[in-house]
């Protein structure tokens, strides 16, 4: 067996030491009736070279151009990120339960918490969630703990549709009433026409910005005592767009140094104010000192966590998203404010230039509200153009009919700094195909 640690000789020595004749005897506690008689029908073993060749034969072709976003974005991945995060000292370590052997991982989480606070403008953040969608679900669960009697949850229709589905899954056995806030068809912004009392009494108001349609929301009109949960699925936007005021800020870190990899694994972030620290889900790392008075870090407030508090824990989360948090921390350290803002500006400029360029062939932006790097195109004037482009390996966006059957001919288009150097060529290509069709 590949990766086996012991040899035939070792095995005999060890069986001898243990005092049994055959290794099956070690399974004597498993009743015979329960034991498998037949071999496992699992393909293999394959040697490394054969396995790689087999995988190569299974590969499918990627689009030549992709303007697909919707919560996951192809940003440039700087070489130092993969190189450093690929060090086995990071990859093959466990959760840092023994702080003396885990200062590296612990300081990394402390840095992650700090970066999330910087990005969101919040006071405290945890050491990461599975992803943005589960971070939102956990935020609402936390709101349930903080605002015990409130049961009415308002969620913007422009929150990522998959996030909303996950939220419904988590809430389906609770008394919470989930109400959708409609989107203004003109601006693309969420219409929050709730009275002061409705806001005050709500469990929470959930708004995503930039929202799923790419439009930057304005929650400035909300009452001070409304409990706001903000979601951000394109973390790069936080470099340029002021985060909305929120009681809990959650989102997806994928844009900051994490590959798309079909949507997982990524990392979610979760930030709030100090007042809520004991209600936070997930892991927290704090700064302390060691026995000699030296700066040292450890997991803290573990009394909120499942391995101590069991059914009274603030969440069941154990293994979360460490390596992905590491990637985002290295990415942010490498770019700094300057590099991050430059990349974000280039994403936004690419998107704005593209939106303007394709107007010439009748592909209009659906909404008038401000946007960062993603927007909805109304393609009704150009039926079939998206399909034609796709047939040529140019995937120009996500058909919104996937979630909203009535939104025919509407496509969600995203650009990033990867498209910035060639955005005018992309516009030309769309125009050329439009003239052909």
């Amino acid at each position: 067996m590949r990766y086996s640690g012991i040899t035939k000789r070792d095995r005999e020595l060890m069986l001898d030491e243990v005092g049994v004749g055959h290794v099956d005897d070690l399974f004597s506690s498993v009743p015979d009736a329960v034991r498998m008689k037949e071999p496992l029908a699992v393909k293999g073993p394959l040697p490394e070279a054969t396995l790689k060749a087999e995988l190569d034969a299974m590969k499918s072709g990627a689009p030549r151009v992709s303007l697909v976003g919707g919560g996951l974005y192809h940003h440039y991945l700087p070489e130092p990120v993969s190189s450093l995060a690929g060090r086995s000292e990071w990859v093959t370590a466990y959760t840092p339960y023994q702080p003396e052997l885990s200062q590296g991982t612990l300081i990394m989480y402390y840095e992650f918490q700090t970066y999330v606070c910087m990005l969101t403008g919040q006071e405290i953040a945890n050491g990461g969630m599975y992803d943005g969608s589960t971070a939102l679900a956990e935020a609402v669960m936390m709101a349930r703990r903080v605002r015990k009697d409130a049961l009415r949850l308002y969620v913007s229709e422009a929150v990522h549709p998959e996030y909303r589905q996950v939220l419904r899954t988590y809430l389906q056995f609770q008394d919470v009433e989930l109400l959708l806030l409609a989107v203004d068809p003109e601006t693309g912004r969420t219409q929050i026409d709730l009275t002061a009392d409705q806001q005050k009494d709500a469990l929470a108001i959930v708004v995503q910005s930039p929202n799923f349609f790419g439009v930057i929301e304005d929650v400035g009109g909300l009452e001070d005592d409304a409990f706001v949960i903000s979601v951000c699925a394109e973390a790069q936007s936080l470099a340029l767009v002021e985060p909305p005021r929120a009681d809990i800020a959650v989102g997806e870190m994928q844009s900051l140094g994490i590959p798309v990899q079909l949507g997982g694994p990524t990392a979610g972030f979760f930030a709030t104010s100090k007042a809520h620290v004991r209600n936070l889900p997930g892991r927290l790392v704090g700064k302390s000192v060691d026995a000699a008075g030296r700066e040292a870090y450890c997991i803290t407030l573990a009394t909120r966590e499942q391995f101590i508090r069991r059914e009274k824990a603030t969440s069941n989360i154990c293994t979360s998203s460490g390596l992905m948090c590491l990637r985002s921390v290295i990415y942010l350290s490498l770019l700094g404010r300057e590099g991050l803002q430059t990349a974000a500006r280039q994403s936004a400029r690419a998107a704005h230039a593209f939106a303007e360029g394709i107007e010439d062939v009748g592909l209009k932006r659906l909404h008038s509200g401000p946007f960062f790097n993603e927007f909805v195109v109304d393609a009704a004037a150009r039926p079939g153009l998206f399909e034609t482009l796709q047939a040529h390996g140019f995937v120009m966006g996500i058909p919104l009919a996937k979630w909203w059957p009535k939104r025919k001919d509407q496509y969600l288009v995203a650009l990033t700094e990867l498209h910035y150097p060639k955005v005018l060529e992309l516009v030309q290509e769309v125009k050329a195909r439009a003239h052909d069709s």
């Binding site: 293999g44 396995l51 969608s133 293994t319 490498l334 995937v395």
Partner: protein, 471 residues
Amino acid sequence: MRTIHESPIFNLARADKHGFEVNHPDAELDQRPLGFEERSDIGGMEQTTEIEVVRHYTRLSTVNYDIDRGIYPLGSCTMKHNPRLNEAVAADPTWRDPHPYWPESSLEGHRRVMEELASDLGEISGFDHVSLLPAAGAHGELTAVFMIRAYHLRSGNPDKRTFLIPDSAHGTNPASAAMAGFKCKQVKSGPDGYLRLEDLEPHFNDDVAAIMITNPNTLGIYERQFEEIAQALHDLDALVYMDGANLNAMMGYFRPGRIGADVMHFNLHKTFTTPHGGGGPGSGPIGFNDKLAPFAPEAENGIGPVKAYLGQWGMFIRAWTYIRSLGGTGLKQASEEAVLNANYLRKRLGDVLDIPYDTPTLHEVVFSDKNLPNDVTTADLAKRLIDYGIHPPTVYFPIHVKGALMVEPTETETLEELDRFVASIRSIILEALDEPDRLKTAPHTTPVSRVDEVKAARELNLRWTPDPRRI
């Protein structure tokens, strides 16, 4: 070589340093207004240079312990070798970069890997259905708990609200059950370390929704009444959840889906060698039978998705690669040797450490600090083990064993490494007799000594802030 003391990178960051540049600017494009007010400051974020970043994260990594350095015998965590091949395959851009919203024709290869992985997990566990979606083991538990709730609601049993959970269970079990609104009733393990039907029976009534059993349990003991217990629960129209954390003990030997479990989770980051990464990402697929299939996240009228997109793809391809590297015979041999290695350690240490239960064990063994001299505790022994260059086993778990020391070596350790572990423990026990203080103040060789956890919790400092004295 002395370890350089490393503090958070923010202490090196300055406004006049330059960050990584992705593209050169384009003067024409950059004239365009963006139509929104730009944020100037990002909470005080500044720049560091590339060499500083490289050195900082290299130095930090070296003050970590990792499997590539030596045995990592954490019980219940299955810290086995993480093959380089898996990492290489997962990092291949063709597998790594696709987007779930791309046209299906671009994802055929990924779909095939996922279908084959699901099918293999089904074969290994004896379940006819597998959902790959959950993000980690606890998330798989939560998914299953939601499915169980949906099952009872649709069967017209809304009052089935109680989960029976043995005292030996992982903390995630009751925490997951509580998240779907279930009440948890803790059940005591029997005197031989396994769960007895007679201890469960007093709790049997109409509101029992399910039991959560880890098998082999967290003592490494096979639950010998598993089938009877499952039958009794089914007679109550309750369900059996099996915690699959200890799957490494059973591949090719027995299958939970065939002995009465209705649903279980897999930890791809335990049994199937995807890395632990300092606390994730994991991947926690679940297997289940026909009874629960209508409630799966993917089913038309199921519970709905528990996570956006398609699951932890990066872990799927690693696990697929591992399974193909071993094949059915190799997986069985892995379990066999995991059990042999654990029993070898049990035998070699059983004369110096207390084994609270005499019952045979499979892939892990739990000792206690009962016989340690001079009031030396499990924590002291564990911390001293660090000075021997070995990561301590899981300590103080399971909670029903006082001073527990839970050891799981896994099959990828060599006899030499197992013997080094044995020799280290035996040497420490001799030290405990002569110089207990060396244990009580351990570790002595790490970049930091014991960390003041009370101070960390009392004087919460959860993020870096600029030192006011800094110029």
